[in-house]
C-alpha cells in the first residue's frame, strides 16, 4: 500500500463478470506507471475505491495511464456501474465519478437523486433538471453566510420560487427540499405542497419570508410528510391553526421541529398528532407548549429520540411535575435534548433520568439556566458528544464538562448577553480545560472575553483533530491577554497541528503573519472567516496562494485591497464565493475583475444613498460579493445590488 492505490470494483455475481483489479500508481509518490491487471484474488474495500476515483476524477494521472484505465473500464456495462455508484453517497464522490469519462458521466447523471447546490445563483433550475432528471432531493443555499449577522439586506435575494416553478414544469418527482438562507414565500410553500404528491421532507434553515399559512398548506396537502424541520427561521405568525391542518390520515411524521415559531400553538392538535404518528423520532416544540402538555406528549411518545422542550416552567411540588418525572424516566431512547427557552431551574431534576443517555445537549437558548444548575445537569451527562451552551457556564463549568464528557466532539459556547462585558463569561482557561479533558473534540465555536497565544498553542497540542475551529473574541481586535501581542502564533499553532481543518474563523488582534501560517499549513481549509485582521494585501495573498482547497472566503473590515483581489483571478473560479466588506477594494478593481472573468458575478451591495450611478472608480466598495456562476448576472437583484 505504500506506493499503490488500488481500485476494486465489486463483482456483479449474477452477471458473472470477473474481478478487476487496478493498481494505480500513486501520483503523489512516484508519478510512475499505471498497471491494469486482471487479478481475481485480491479484494480491496470501498474506501480505496473512493480515493482512487478521486485520483482519476481530479486528473492526477498521466495521459497514458488514463488511457489504459479508460480502456479497461469499457468492459463494464452501465448496469454494473450504476450499481457500484449506488454505494457512493457523498456529493464529492459522485462528482469525482462523473469526471472520469463520458459514459460514467452519463450513468451518474441518470442515477443521481440527491443534488446539492451551494449557491442558488450559480446555476439555473433548468440546467439542474436537464442534467439530473431523476433528482428527488434538492439542497439549496441562498444568501451569503454573513447574512446571518445582519450584513446583507433582507431583500438581497435568494428566492426559492423559480426553483420550485421549474421543477413543477420539468415534472420532477421531488421528495425532499432543504433550504438554507433563502427567501421562501407562502406562495412557494403552497406550490410545493400542491405539486409534488410524494413530497416527504422539508427542512428550512435560517429562511424567511413565509408565515404559518404556508406551513398550513404543507401540513394539509403533503400526505406522506415525514419531516418538517424549521431551524432558526423568521416566521410570521398568523395565529392560523396550522398544526390542526394535519389531516387525521397523517401518521407518517418522523420529525417535527417548530421551535423557532413565536406564536401560540393548538395543544390539542399537537397531542393528537403526536399520538397518531407512532414513528415520530424527533420533536421540538416552541415555548408556547407548557410543561404539562409536554408531559402528556411524552407519555404518548416514549419512543422519541430527539426532544426539544417548550416552556419548562412549573412548580416542582405539583402533580404534573411529578408526572413529568415519571414520563421522562420511560423515555430511555432520548439522546438529544434542546429547548428550555423559558425555564425554572428547580424543574431541571426532572430530566436527570435521561441525561446519561444524552449524546446531544443544546442549552444555547436557555438563558434561565445558570452556572450552578448547568453544572449539576452536565454532571449527569457523561456520554455527551455535542454540547451547545451559553457562556454563563463560566470557565469553572467548562472544567466540569472537561472532566465529565470524555466523548465530547463538538462544543459551542455562545455569549449570553453581547452588550454586557464582564459578567459570567468564559476565557482561555475554559478552552484549555476542555482541550485537555476532551481528546475527541473536533469542532468548536467559542465566544470569549479574552484569549492568549499560550492557550491556543496548548489547545492545538491537545486536540489535533479539529475540523472546525471558530474562535470569536467579543472585542474583535483584542490582543493576547497576557503578553499584549497579536494572536498570530496561537492561530498559527492551530493550523499547524490540525491538519484536517476545514473551517476556520479568527478574531483578536492579528497581523499578516497569521495568514502566512494559514497559507503554509491549512491545506484542507475550505471556509475561512476573517474580521478586523491583517495589515496589508500580503495577508490575503498568503491565503489565496496557499489554501488550495479554499471554497469560501469571507472578509470584513480588513485592510486588503485591489492588489490582493486581482492577483490571481483564476482562483475565484475554483471557489464558491468571496465576500469582502469594509475592505480597501475599489469599484474600479471590481469592474476589472468582472470584465476579465466572465464566469464570475461580481456584485456590489450599495446601501448608501449618496452613491449614484456616476461613481468614481476609485471609490471603495462597502460590500462586495463575488461567486462563480454559469448563468450570468442574476435577474432578480434589487436596486442596491449592482452586478458589474
Amino acid at each position: 500500500m505504500d506506493t499503490y492505490i488500488n481500485i476494486y470494483i465489486e463483482r456483479e455475481r449474477d452477471r458473472g463478470f470477473g474481478f478487476f483489479l487496478t493498481e494505480l500508481s500513486d501520483y503523489n509518490r512516484s508519478g510512475s506507471n499505471l498497471k491494469v491487471e486482471d487479478n481475481p484474488e485480491l479484494y480491496f474495500g470501498p474506501k480505496i475505491f473512493r480515493s482512487s476515483l478521486h485520483l482519476i476524477g481530479s486528473a492526477r494521472v498521466k495521459k497514458d495511464q488514463m488511457r489504459s484505465f479508460q480502456s479497461m473500464l469499457n468492459y463494464f456495462p452501465e448496469e454494473v456501474l450504476e450499481h457500484v455508484f449506488d454505494f457512493l453517497t457523498s456529493h464529492r464522490d459522485r462528482n469525482a465519478v462523473s469526471l472520469v469519462c463520458k459514459s460514467w458521466y452519463a450513468v451518474e447523471r441518470f442515477s443521481r437523486e440527491k443534488v446539492f447546490i451551494g449557491n442558488c445563483y450559480a446555476i439555473s433550475p433548468d440546467r439542474l433538471i436537464a442534467r439530473f432528471p431523476r433528482v428527488r432531493s434538492l439542497t439549496l443555499k441562498g444568501k451569503p453566510h454573513f447574512a446571518d449577522f445582519n450584513l446583507v439586506p433582507h431583500d438581497w435575494g435568494g428566492y426559492v420560487q423559480p426553483w420550485i416553478e421549474s421543477m413543477v414544469k420539468g415534472g420532477v418527482n421531488l421528495e425532499e427540499l432543504r433550504l438554507k438562507r433563502m427567501l421562501v414565500s407562502d406562495e412557494s410553500l403552497e406550490l410545493l405542497a400542491n405539486s409534488f404528491p410524494n413530497f416527504k421532507s422539508l427542512v428550512l434553515v435560517s429562511c424567511e419570508g413565509f408565515t404559518t399559512d404556508g406551513l398550513a398548506a404543507i401540513a394539509s396537502n403533503c400526505r406522506f410528510l415525514r419531516e418538517l424541520d424549521l431551524q432558526e427561521n423568521e416566521v410570521e405568525d398568523r395565529r392560523g391553526q396550522w398544526l390542526s391542518r394535519f389531516p387525521d390520515s397523517c401518521t407518517s411524521l418522523v420529525s417535527l421541529n417548530f421551535a423557532c415559531l413565536k406564536g401560540e400553538v393548538n395543544l390539542a392538535s399537537l397531542e393528537r398528532l403526536v399520538a397518531r404518528c407512532c414513528n415520530l423520532r424527533s420533536l421540538r416544540v416552541n415555548h408556547a407548549v407548557p410543561l404539562d402538555a409536554l408531559q402528556r406528549i411524552l407519555a404518548q411518545a416514549p419512543q422519541l429520540v430527539d426532544l426539544g422542550t417548550g416552556s419548562f416552567v412549573h412548580d416542582p411540588d405539583s402533580e404534573s411535575y411529578n408526572k413529568l418525572e415519571t414520563s421522562m424516566q420511560k423515555c430511555t431512547s432520548i439522546t438529544s435534548l434542546s429547548g428550555f427557552l423559558d425555564v425554572t431551574a428547580r424543574c431541571l431534576p426532572a430530566i436527570y433520568s435521561i441525561c446519561r443517555h444524552l449524546t446531544t445537549l443544546n442549552l444555547s437558548y436557555a438563558p434561565g439556566i445558570y452556572s450552578d444548575e448547568l453544572v449539576k445537569l452536565i454532571c449527569h451527562c457523561n456520554k455527551l458528544e455535542r454540547l451547545l451552551v451559553l457562556d454563563t457556564i463560566g470557565d469553572k463549568g467548562l472544567g466540569v464538562v472537561a472532566s465529565t464528557c470524555k466523548e465530547l466532539q463538538e462544543l459551542r459556547v455562545f455569549p449570553s448577553d453581547i452588550y454586557v462585558v464582564g459578567n459570567a463569561s468564559v476565557t482561555e482557561e475554559g478552552l484549555v480545560a476542555i482541550s485537555a479533558g476532551c481528546p475527541k473534540l473536533n469542532s468548536i465555536l467559542y465566544f470569549c472575553q479574552q484569549m492568549t497565544n499560550a492557550a491556543l498553542i496548548t489547545v492545538a497540542k491537545n486536540c489535533p483533530n479539529f475540523i472546525r475551529f471558530r474562535l470569536c473574541t467579543l472585542n474583535p481586535t483584542v490582543p493576547d491577554a497576557v503578553t499584549m501581542q497579536p494572536l498570530d502564533e496561537g492561530f498559527g499553532a492551530i493550523v499547524k497541528s490540525c491538519k484536517g481543518l476545514k473551517r476556520l474563523s479568527v478574531s483578536g488582534l492579528l497581523t499578516d503573519q497569521v495568514f502566512l501560517y494559514f497559507g503554509r499549513y491549512a491545506k484542507q481549509l475550505e471556509m475561512l472567516s476573517i474580521a478586523f485582521a491583517g495589515d496589508s494585501d500580503k495577508g490575503m495573498l498568503y491565503v489565496l496562494n496557499g489554501c488550495k482547497k479554499l471554497k469560501k472566503l469571507e472578509i470584513r473590515d480588513s485592510p486588503f485591497g485591489n492588489v490582493a483581489l486581482l492577483a490571481d483571478m483564476g482562483k475565484y473560479e475554483t471557489m464558491r464565493s468571496l465576500w469582502m466588506s469594509s475592505c480597501e477594494v475599489t469599484l474600479g478593481a471590481c469592474k476589472t475583475l468582472a470584465q476579465k472573468m466572465p464566469k464570475l458575478n461580481v456584485e456590489i451591495i450599495n446601501e448608501s444613498d449618496q452613491m449614484e450611478d456616476s461613481v468614481d472608480d476609485k471609490q471603495k466598495v462597502e460590500k462586495m460579493y463575488l461567486y462563480r456562476t454559469l448563468v450570468g448576472p442574476r435577474k432578480d437583484a434589487p436596486d442596491f445590488v449592482w452586478t458589474l
Binding site: S71, N95, C101, L151, S364, S371, G422, A481, K618
Partner: protein, 404 residues
Amino acid sequence: MIMESIIFPTVKGMAEEDYFSGSQEILHFFDLMSPPLLGVEGGGRGNAPLMSSSASVDCISQSGLGLKERNYLGLSDCSSVDSSGVSNVSEENKSNLNLKATELRLGLPGSRSPERDSDFILLSSDKLDEKQLFPLLPSKDGICSLMQKSIVSGNKRGFSDTMDGFSEKKCSVFAEGKWMFNATGSDSGTPQSVIEAKLAGNAGKNVILSNNSSGTQPTMKKEVPTRALQEGHNKMNGSNNNSSAPAAKAQVVGWPPIRSFRKNTLATTLKTNDEVDGKPVPGALFVKVSMDGAPYLRKVDLRTYSTYQELSSALEKMFMCFTIRQCGSQEAPGREMMGENKFKDLVHGSDYVLTFEDKDGDWMLVGDVPWEMFIESCKRLKIMKGSDAIGLAPRAMEKSKNQN
C-alpha cells in the same frame, strides 16, 4: 481547458469536447466539495503572476483616469491631500477639535448633543469642499477609509431592522467623532504614535473597539511600543472616551457574529423574564443598576451572586470605565483587583457609594443588611455620588434593626 488537454487524447472515441468541458464546469457548481481540478489550477497558477501584474496596473491606470472632479463623499479630496501637508493641517484641526467635542456629555446611549453636531459642520465647512456631506479629518488614507466605512455603515438598511438599530446608527457617528479625537491626540504624542495613526484603517478600528472593560486595551501593532501607547491612550482618553466606550462596543454591525435570530430570541426572553412584575420569575432576579454620571443603565441578576463581594466585583467590571478614573487606579486589570476593596476605594477615595431601593421605596446603603435580606428587598441599584448618599446609612441600620 487544461483539463481537456489532459483527458481528451486519452479517452478513446470521445470527441465532444464541449460536452465534456461543460460537464466539468457544471460539476463545480453542483458540488462545492469537489476537489479543485488540478489541471485547471495548475494552469491558473502559471498565468497568475503575469495576469495579476497586468491587471493591477490596468486597474490603477483606469481608476486614475476615472478620477473625476466631482467629489461625492469628499473622499478624494482627503486622500489627495499631500502627505507633507498632513501634519500641518492636523495641527490646525487639533486646536479646533478638542474643545466641546471632548467634553463629557451625559445622555442616552447613542444620543448626540446638538453642539457637537455643529462642531462637526463648522469644521468641515472650514476645511473642506462644501459639497462634502461628512466632515473628515484631513489625514492619511487609513483614516479616510475608516470614515468612509462609518459613513456608509450609518446608512445600512439591514440595520434599521434590528431592534435597537436606530440608536446604534446614531451611535456610530458618535464613535467616529471619538476616534478622530483620539487620533489627533496621539499625533501630538510620540513619533511612534504618528506611525501608528498611519497604519491603514486597522489601528483606528482598534481604538473604536477598545473598550474592553477588563482593561486589555488593544495595543496597536506589534512594531509599536505597547507600553508607551497604552499610557498615551489612557491619558488622552480620559473620562470622555470611557463614557461612550461601551456604547461604541454595541454598535459594530454584525459583531460579535451571532445569528440575528439567536440575538432576537434571547433578547425577547430576557425582556419577558425581566418584565414579569410582582410575580418573581424563578431562577433570575434582574434589577436595574444606574450610576450617577453614566449615560446608560445596566441590569444584573442578583441570583447569580451569593455575596456582596461578588456583586460588587461584577458592578465594578461593568462600570469600570467610570470608577477607574474616579479612583485614579491604574493598576493592571485582573481578578485580583476586584472585590470589596474596590468599592471601598470607591466609597472613600472617590465619593461613590452603592445604594439600593428597597421594597418600600427607601434608598439604603448596600452592605448594611444580610445578603439574603438584601436580594429579597432590592428593587434597583444605584451607584451614587457620596455626597448625595449622606444620611442613607443610618436609616438602613435602623430599618434592619427594626426588622430583626
